[in-house]
Symmetry: C3
Subunit: 122 residues, 3 copies
């Protein structure tokens, strides 16, 4: 490939997708989905948020610098339980804009998928 | 908290989420949902678009500077009625890229949720 | 209209929406949907990806510079077939962050809608 992409950093590039892209100070994470074996919304949310912490750290960012969070829930009725875990995780004073809707996900065992856009540390 | 976030402006920061974040000249609004008591798609759309006008103005932007609009409808069959209200609102000559899909929303009374990304005035 | 929008380039501006907006080196495409008459997921995916190539080229970008792809499938069970077409298309070494969820789309004949954010060539 050409090297015209040197201004875009990609993390964990696989054949189908990568986990993150960084351009012009903004981090675009892939949709984060549960990697744990737990099947409940609370455990899966905690697992996804933990992955987001890891991915943002790899991109020189963190949860206090999130610009937007799009949350997809398999069952929108899970929102209250998801919010419990979210509220304990979110950076106080830096809660990001958020949108939460219901959508069936790629694996029927997943309750949640979260798409984060964040700012790199200045 | 650290002051490393001074390059990110957040509006109406609550414990769970904020209404907007501004970074590098781009405004990221939260998903806007109806605040009115009306239950029909036209009234709810008008209410959501009015809120977007208010939020964008707070961020030194406006509807002529929208970069993308993601629209979620509880019932995709509402798209024609939503479009009527949208068409009367959109800034002529500056209609933004848009995507509209169906999704159940957090409150079963909501017909519509709209996520806007916009440019701050130069 | 005022000329305060000269820092935003819009492509194929219609009354309701435009096909792309470019600001600060980032391309925001509209949700791309099938224009072909085919009804199967493979043909529709190929058609949508072809349109993305065209739109990105118009914006001085290309598929090696995608920052995020949001894919909506009418039936999430189509993901394997969609992935076959995607895998053959994606720029090797530059696969973007991606999120794929199920959602009913504006036309019941559409199997897929794809929303792309990309970087302009530096």
């Amino acid at each position: 490939m050409s090297d015209t992409q040197t201004d875009i950093q990609r993390l964990h590039v696989a054949a189908r997708y990568s986990e993150a892209a960084v351009f012009n100070g903004v981090v675009y994470l892939a949709g984060m989905v549960p990697e744990c074996e737990a099947t409940d919304i609370r455990s899966q949310t905690a697992d996804v948020l933990r992955q987001i912490d890891v991915r943002l750290a790899e991109c020189n960012s963190d949860k206090s610098r999130i610009l937007r969070t799009q949350i997809f829930l398999r069952d929108i009725a899970d929102i209250a339980a998801m919010n419990e875990v979210w509220d304990a995780w979110v950076a106080a004073g830096h809660a990001p804009p958020r949108a939460t809707v219901q959508a069936a996900l790629a694996d029927p065992g997943w309750c949640i998928e979260v798409v984060v856009t964040a700012a790199v540390r200045g």
